[in-house]
Symmetry: C2
Subunit: 198 residues, 2 copies
Amino acid sequence: VPKVTQEHVDARRAEILEGARQAFAKYGYEGATVARLEEATGLSRGAIFHYFRGKKDLFSAVAVDVNRRYIGLMTTGGLAEALRALATEDPALVAVLIETQLRLRRDEDFVQRMEETMREVAPAFETWFEDQRASGAFRTDLEWPHLARFATIVTNGLALRVGTGDETDVETVVQLLDDALRPQPERGAVRKRRGARA
Amino acid sequence: VPKVTQEHVDARRAEILEGARQAFAKYGYEGATVARLEEATGLSRGAIFHYFRGKKDLFSAVAVDVNRRYIGLMTTGGLAEALRALATEDPALVAVLIETQLRLRRDEDFVQRMEETMREVAPAFETWFEDQRASGAFRTDLEWPHLARFATIVTNGLALRVGTGDETDVETVVQLLDDALRPQPERGAVRKRRGARA
């Protein structure tokens, strides 16, 4: 494939994704009809579905694109930057992403597509968490997947708040997540605390 | 109202909620038709809607009921018990609860109903978190609402995993949440770590 053509394809795809994202946020997954997708992208259905097999494919591309952007924010600016960006994200977009991912959880195609992307980005994820552990920023008593899973759970929990329109003091969330992930004090101190609770 | 009547009302309401919960989990919110609600509860539509104004009211009662149960688990067994119970919850129920709460986020009635319940349970929530701070189990450098919000974010993030059918090692989540909420080591240690990261 000549480079100029690939660039053209990428630019056109990005254009379609941008319009589709707006349409999904505004009308919801069901409400984003082909006519509305045409209007939002400024392209004909023929042009749109030349690049994407159908609406489900288009939606999963939007979801993947958003996920990639947040993983990029994390690897360049840390979890704090990713969480801050999420806190100011369009609630309608966040809501439709969560809602549709739940609705399509039994759709084999969709699930497979999302899993493929996750496998693609997993190395960057692993490298970032391992770097944080190596530099002493993150704890080493738990393997990186446990830390990554917890960070993802916090991100998703915050996303749910954003999606339902709740205001959140994101700085405290950043602080508490950081306190969970950083190297921990010795067990003795922890045990003393546990004793006090009982 | 004589006591026997109130007991009867409560028992009947609980029976309806139990059936409705199963129907919502099995068919989703839209798919839980009146006929299916009748089948699941073993009661006529007349009986069901004698106790609940309509399907939306019934759904919000189910959501409130589930929330109350988890708050009860937290106040008796701690966050660990609530998270463990959530990890083994029916994914279909969790999914429909999240999905529908997102879908109804602009429905004034529904939002008001959920907020009323949250105001009702807030004192128990506050007491529990303040007790944990007083006993030395939880940190005191942040006010209780920040700790409660973070615990809720983690719970919701885990719920999203459960709802999409992902397996989770809940014990690590419990540990990391506990490490975030417990009294923290002195600032000096934190600063040293921050320096190491830069």
